[in-house]
């Protein structure tokens, strides 16, 4: 039974984050090869359980599994016994009985990844649980920033938008702070969580006040599906106050980055051509997503799992 999981950034700590980023330099090299595949996790089975929709996260985990030569089992609720009313526990126990080494799970309820180890011996990776955490997104963002700006230590990062509902923001704040960056959360008060006092961050509702001295503007997706609760008066007003327009991008520092976890609402949190802006590393983030997920899987199933055989002897 493994104690190794990536359920939240706290499962890794600074040393775990550093280890995964170091592995990513290797997998980055692998991904540039003519045959971008290594036999590292041959014989391992990885189950992908997505109770919520996803494009890039699911595809990048699947690609990562294949590039490590692991087998992946794909599970989406639309075509499974969950439709017949099977409980989470029964589903996990069923998959577990088939012999999986890792379970990648996305679920609408916060805390699901922490429940899984009760029912399975597999390593658990959180691919997003409710509004709680999304640690591999934070890791790939750290890697992207490190690749583009050298390091995170001392950098000023503004996370802008719907902080309240964002699992990306929660994981990213922890990871950015662990690596020595300072973080400012920017958004209307209605979209700011209540308990940010112990997060170790600054908060503001004045976007324009932070643009000039931020090294990274991290734009969050406006979660349109939640807008019937009227957290903002209108999307147009939100876009005007908190959207990254071309003119706002003009006043950014020379060596700074625009990031977005995707999927993007063009014309809401970013203007329609921001993805193609010279400072934008959004496509970079997607490419690094595969690399980081290779690192995360290898960290759990390769580098980190030590079950020493008696008398085992090797150079």
């Amino acid at each position: 039974m493994t104690e190794n999981h990536i359920r939240g950034i706290d499962d890794l700590g600074k040393s775990g984050i550093e280890e995964i980023l170091a592995l990513s330099d290797h997998f980055h090299e692998v991904s540039t090869r003519r045959i971008p595949k290594v036999p590292a996790l041959r014989g391992k089975t990885i189950a992908l359980l997505f109770y919520e929709d996803s494009t890039r996260t699911r595809l990048s985990f699947e690609t990562a599994s294949k590039r490590l030569s692991a087998d992946s089992l794909n599970f989406s609720i639309g075509s499974s016994s969950v439709k017949k009313g099977e409980s989470l526990r029964d589903t996990i126990e069923t998959i577990s009985a088939m012999g999986v080494d890792a379970i990648v799970v996305r679920h609408g309820s916060a805390g699901v990844p922490w429940m899984l180890p009760r029912w399975t011996d597999a390593a658990v990776i959180n691919a997003g649980d409710g509004s709680h955490e999304h640690p591999t997104q934070a890791l790939l963002d750290c890697y992207t920033i490190r690749k583009n700006l050298g390091e995170l230590n001392g950098k000023r990062i503004a996370i802008v938008g719907d902080i309240k509902h964002s699992r990306v923001a929660r994981s990213n704040v922890k990871a950015f702070l662990a690596l020595g960056a300072s973080v400012t959360l920017v958004g209307p008060k209605t979209l700011m969580p209540f308990n940010t006092d112990d997060w170790g961050v600054e908060t503001t509702d004045q976007f324009d006040s932070v643009i000039g001295d931020s090294d990274v503007l991290y734009m969050l997706r406006m979660q349109l599906e939640r807008q019937q609760k009227s957290f903002v008066p209108s999307l147009r007003e939100y876009a005007k106050e908190y959207g990254l327009s071309d003119s706002r991008a003009q006043s950014m520092k020379p060596e700074s980055l625009i990031m977005h976890p995707g999927p993007m609402n063009r014309g809401v949190e970013v203007s329609s051509n921001i993805k193609e802006h010279p400072k934008s590393v959004v496509n970079n983030q997607v490419a690094n997503g595969v690399i980081i997920r290779m690192s995360a899987l290898y960290y759990l199933l390769g580098a980190g799992s030590i079950t020493k055989l008696e008398g085992f002897n090797d150079e």
């Binding site: 592995l23 090869r33 045959i35 290594v38 580098a303 090797d314």
Partner: protein, 191 residues
């Protein structure tokens, strides 16, 4: 279980205690010169030749061999580096952490690849390296150069160029640098 030699992965704790010097700096230098000439003679020149140093211990030896070959033949030989961690057969059995990213900026198809490592022991690293090599193309031939062959092979692998054959105990450890070759053991670090 005794402490083991793991030159291409971080040693998990412990301190290396040298017991004897097998070669001094001059010995290493002379062996590299001889091996350079042997590589040249065996392959009748340097065309199509590529040196690939295995991380970590083989990299500086491969670079040294390339310097020697440049001096002898006035011809540059491409040098790549290879980290075989992801190809090892003991992933999941022990901690396998890569050291430095592979750097192989050329296709190996139809080239003569000389793998360079510091110590040849069980042969499992070389097995992994050969698996890795074919992901970079289909070489015309793969040869093996090592500074120390210490025996205890577990696979049908033999070196083409050897600095020195050294009979060892399994639990001993061989340390190769340009300053010489030491034979010793790992002892637990004092708390």
């Amino acid at each position: 279980m005794a402490d083991l030699e793991r030159p291409n992965t971080p040693l998990d704790g412990g301190v290396f205690h040298a017991r004897s010097e097998i070669m001094n700096a001059d010995g290493v230098r002379r062996a590299l010169w001889r091996m350079s000439h042997e590589i040249l003679e065996q392959n009748r020149g340097l065309s199509e030749l590529v040196l690939v140093g295995l991380e970590v211990g083989g990299v500086h030896l491969a670079q040294k061999l390339a310097e020697n070959l440049l001096e002898i033949e006035k011809q540059k030989v491409p040098v790549g580096t290879l980290d075989v961690a992801f190809y090892r057969d003991d992933i999941g059995i022990r901690q396998v952490t890569p050291s430095n990213p592979t750097d192989m900026p050329f296709d190996l198809t139809s080239r003569i690849v000389v793998l360079v490592d510091d110590v040849l022991f069980t042969g499992r690293t070389i097995r992994a390296a050969m698996d890795a090599i074919v992901d970079f193309g289909r070489p015309a031939a793969v040869q093996l150069a090592v500074m120390i062959d210490r025996g205890h092979r577990e696979l049908p692998i033999r070196p083409d160029y050897v600095g020195k054959n050294v009979p060892t105990r399994r639990d001993e450890l061989v340390d190769v640098t340009e300053n010489g070759v030491l034979l010793g053991v790992m002892k637990d670090a004092k708390p």
